[in-house]
């Protein structure tokens, strides 16, 4: 059911954030709720073998909280959303570079807001080099480089060969500062820093969630906000430089555009609207009418090719003979006959029998005209005029005088829409007159009654086992809830079973 989603607002109250920001804000709202003292996830310090693990919560804690607070019924869904939030770096497993959520006793920690993706981080490789270098200096088992990190470090050493002394110094300075920190604090900060890099330099094979859709990236580039340096190696481009202005997402409208908007609004105000109740009924009845043609509700005859690997139903569709189901559709509305090439053919035959086929032939010719390359249009317009509308035309059609006059004007400067008015008039004529007679005609009725040409190839042999299975299935009617045809088959077998 429709649930209101939180409307994201940027700090100045205007809802014009880039699409990525919208998602970050929503995730951050969830994180805030997770961190709530009363109703959030309980964060604790766990005593492990020789030391304490500070500030953690388990995977199952997260999943349970999500199912309870975010209206998620299915555990799989909660795990999926949680994994995404981890992949964006909002919380992370403390002992794994791969950012996923597992529903078990694995420990997780929240990321510090400083490292949140909404701060527009675009960290440079020099920073990554400092970080990896620093890690090698700190003699701790838990800080040992993983294989992919060692490879990255080697590559960076080659790339920054000239700068390496400087990078090394930075790394040393960082390591020194870290040593002075409180042990517990250091554990937490180290893990958060590592999680930051796991987002921006993910394990090979993992999704890089910082990748952006290029269509939106021009709006995400806010040079005055982008943070490129974690360790202050370069000029953090956050100063208010006059050359870095935010490009507005939406162009300010010009006077002419505003005039157009006003005119457009005025025209729309005059529109005739239908009541919602009527519209709803129409949508319902359309869906109901076409349900038996929708392969998601009714198994196609003889089978759905993607499941049975049998293309018969496609071959049947392509052939000239139309099955009963297809013919039945023509009676739904005039458009259905005109959409189906076999339907058009049958309708044409019928009209020929009534000696009024020129209407349909004119309509088809004009449709064809609109499909031709622009180069051919003038000639075709002339041909159609000669055939159907000119005085003494061989297939003269009957149009109202207004359309006729307009058309006479149009062909002087022939375009693709030269016959638009005449075509609309003829369409209405066919729809209100010939179409209803076609549906009631004996020719159509015969097609409707025609026996099905093809016997389904894989007609099920009803073994004892299958009958029993059907019987069980009947007890649980929800299983076959959506399929109308199978419901009917079951009813048939039910009566068979009760007789045996």
């Amino acid at each position: 059911m429709a649930q209101p989603s939180s409307c994201a607002q940027s700090s100045n109250g205007v809802a014009d954030e880039s699409p990525n920001m919208l998602v970050y804000r929503k995730m951050e709202d969830i994180i805030a709720r997770m961190q709530d003292e009363k109703n959030g996830i309980p964060i604790r310090t766990v005593k492990s073998f020789l030391s304490k693990i500070p500030s953690v919560f388990s995977g199952s804690d997260i999943v349970q909280w999500m199912q309870k607070n975010l209206n998620i019924e299915d555990q799989v869904e909660a795990l999926h959303l949680g994994t995404l939030m981890a992949a964006h770096g909002y919380f992370f497993p403390i002992s794994d570079h791969v950012l996923t959520l597992k529903e078990d006793g694995t420990f997780y920690r929240f990321q510090t807001p400083y490292f949140w993706p909404s701060n527009c981080w675009e960290p440079e490789n020099t920073d990554y080099a400092v970080y990896l270098c620093k890690r090698t200096m700190q003699n701790k088992a838990r800080l040992e480089l993983a294989d992919y990190e060692a490879e990255s470090l080697a590559r960076l050493q080659r790339a920054f060969a000239r700068k390496w002394e400087f990078i090394f110094m930075q790394a040393e300075a960082q390591a020194k500062v870290d040593k002075k920190r409180d042990k517990i604090e250091r554990k937490i900060l180290d893990s958060q820093e590592r999680a930051f890099w796991d987002v921006h330099r993910p394990v090979p094979g993992c999704v890089n969630t910082t990748e952006a859709d290029i269509k939106k990236s021009s709006r995400m580039k806010q040079p005055h906000k982008t943070r490129k340096s974690v360790y202050g190696l370069q000029n953090d481009i956050r100063s208010h430089s006059p050359t870095h202005t935010v490009t507005p997402e939406v162009k300010e409208p010009t006077e002419d555009e505003l005039h157009d908007q006003i005119q457009h609004c005025q025209e729309q105000l005059d529109r005739h609207r239908l009541k919602m109740s009527k519209v709803a009924e129409s949508l319902l009845s359309f869906a109901e009418q076409y349900l038996e043609y929708d392969p998601f509700f009714t198994t196609p005859e003889p089978s759905n090719p993607w499941i049975s690997d049998d293309v018969t139903s496609w071959e049947l569709e392509a052939c000239k003979e139309a099955g009963q189901q297809r013919v039945k559709r023509w009676a739904f509305c005039f458009d259905e006959v005109m959409k189906d090439p076999v339907g058009r053919e049958q309708f044409l035959k019928f009209l020929e029998s009534e000696f009024s086929s020129e209407n349909l032939r004119f309509w088809l010719a004009v449709q064809e005209l609109k499909k031709r390359p622009i180069r051919e249009v003038p000639t075709r317009v002339q041909e159609i005029w000669e055939e159907f509308l000119a005085p003494g035309a061989p297939s003269a059609i009957n149009v109202d005088s207004r359309s006729y006059d307009k058309t006479t004007q149009n062909i002087k400067d022939p375009g693709r829409y030269a016959f638009q008015d005449a075509q609309e008039h003829i369409y209405k004529l066919m729809k209100s007159d010939s179409y209803s007679r076609f549906i009631r005609s004996s020719a159509y009725q015969e097609l409707l009654q025609a026996k099905k040409k093809v016997q389904p190839q894989n007609r099920p042999r009803h073994t004892h086992a299958s009958l029993l299975c059907m019987k069980f299935a009947l007890n649980v009617k929800m299983v076959f809830h959506n399929d109308i045809k199978i419901q009917r088959e079951i009813k048939m077998f039910h009566s068979l079973l009760s007789r045996t």
Binding site: P253, L291, D335
Partner: protein, 421 residues
């Protein structure tokens, strides 16, 4: 009454003069402001008029029809071959072939039924964001960062170099976001990051009509399904969906209720309504006769944007591909979600239902395309459909676990019939 005027110091006088000067300078923008106010007032009035006829909600009217059970979807084919993110795909009218385009500049034509690649073209640019199959099945159109839309005729001769026969049709001033053939191979409709849509004659490359009205990038479009139809709908970064008359170039109707970019628009099969998918994590249904939004499809747990939407053949189901790697399926009339499909390992960027509605194809940033449909169970030659996940009591004998084997057993049968789906 004699009022004593306060004495103005010279500083105050200067201040007053400066203020006056500023007011004079701001005169030219007054017309803009007045126009803006007028436009806003009219928009509000329009919304009021639209709301007057809103006597009931769609889902309320839909209460009288039976609810759908949960649908279980299964991937039937996985198409691997792109070297980077799949950005767009389109079905051929023969219901089995598809064309897909990718960030690596490749456009591939597949027979999705056999998973064979039939043609491949390398575009001169990366990020090919749009591709379309011609109605005849004999050509494909594509484009993206090159700001153009090009048409490639498909040759039966596998050895022929497709790139040699390339025809440049559309020229925009920014990226091409979507393209679509009209009812013939001879005309193409395009939408672009330059904020416009345009109709082109393929043979000459001439622009037949242009469509202006969006205030920002246009991201998607869809042609009305009617045989007599001359309209199409477009959606853009200005959060607006516009319905256009192809003949005159005028915007007939517009809707602005989304809270972020509209990434995808698709007509309801009857042509009376259309659905949209947006970065605000919702899909919405707009009815053209009621002239307003008539349904929102959203959930508290869905926070990532919708990249693409399409209807099942009857219009009862709406499929949405999302940036959280999932595909959600909605009951259009009741507004509830009836299925969620996991499987892609990165964003779903494009999704289309096949022309006969037997399956749907999704393309993703994980480099693959997947053709999926409903899950069926074949047992002793009887094809049954699994539409509920529930595990029932063992003595009733229907035990379903969608991730692995499906087993059906009963006390009366001798052995357990286990069938892998």
């Amino acid at each position: 009454k004699n009022r004593q005027l306060p004495l103005l110091s010279s500083a105050n006088l200067v201040f007053l003069v400066e203020m006056a000067a500023q007011e004079v300078a701001s005169q030219p923008s007054d017309t803009l402001t007045t126009l803006k106010t007028e436009s806003e007032t009219l928009k509000t009035k329009l919304e009021e008029e639209r709301a007057k006829l809103h006597d009931v909600e769609l889902h309320q009217v839909a209460e009288k029809i039976e609810a759908l059970g949960q649908f279980v979807m299964k991937t039937r084919r996985t198409l691997k071959g792109h070297g980077n993110k799949v950005l767009c795909m389109d079905w051929c009218k023969d219901k089995r072939r598809i064309v897909s385009s990718s960030q690596d500049g490749k456009v591939i034509v597949w027979d999705a039924f056999t998973t064979n690649k039939e043609h491949a073209v390398t575009m001169p640019c990366t990020w090919v964001m749009a591709c379309a199959y011609a109605p005849s099945g004999c050509a494909v159109a594509c484009g993206g960062l090159d700001n153009k839309c090009s048409v490639y005729p498909l040759s039966l001769d596998k050895n022929e170099n497709l790139a040699a026969k390339k025809k440049s049709v559309a020229m925009h001033t920014n990226y091409l976001s979507a393209c679509c053939f009209t009812n013939s191979d001879m005309q193409i409709l395009t939408s672009s990051g330059d904020g416009t849509c345009a109709l082109w004659d393929v043979e000459s490359g001439q622009m037949l009509q242009s469509f202006h009205g969006h205030a920002a990038d246009v991201l998607c479009l869809d042609l009305a399904p009617s045989e007599t139809g001359n309209t199409f709908v477009s959606g853009g970064c200005d959060k607006k969906a516009c319905v256009w008359d192809m003949r005159t170039g005028q915007c007939i109707q517009s809707f602005e209720t989304h809270e972020s970019d509209i990434n995808s628009v698709r007509y309801y099969p009857s042509g009376d309504a259309f659905a949209s998918g947006s970065d605000d994590a919702t899909c919405r249904l707009y009815d053209l006769r009621a002239d307003r939004e008539v349904a929102i499809y959203s959930k508290e747990s869905i926070i990532f944007g919708t990249s693409s939407v399409d209807f099942s053949l009857s219009g009862r189901l709406l499929f949405g591909g999302y940036n959280d790697y999932t595909i959600n399926v909605w009951d259009v009339l009741k507004g509830t979600r009836v299925s969620i499909l996991f499987g892609h390992e990165n964003r779903v960027s494009t999704l289309r239902v096949s022309p006969d509605g037997t399956a749907f194809c999704s393309g993703s940033w994980d480099h693959t395309l997947r053709v999926s449909g409903q899950k069926y169970l074949r047992l002793s030659g009887v094809v049954m459909k699994v539409s509920h996940l529930f595990c029932l009591s063992p003595d009733l004998g229907l035990n379903v676990d969608w991730n692995s084997d499906v087993s059906l057993f009963s006390p009366q049968l001798d052995s357990r019939i286990t069938r892998r789906l």
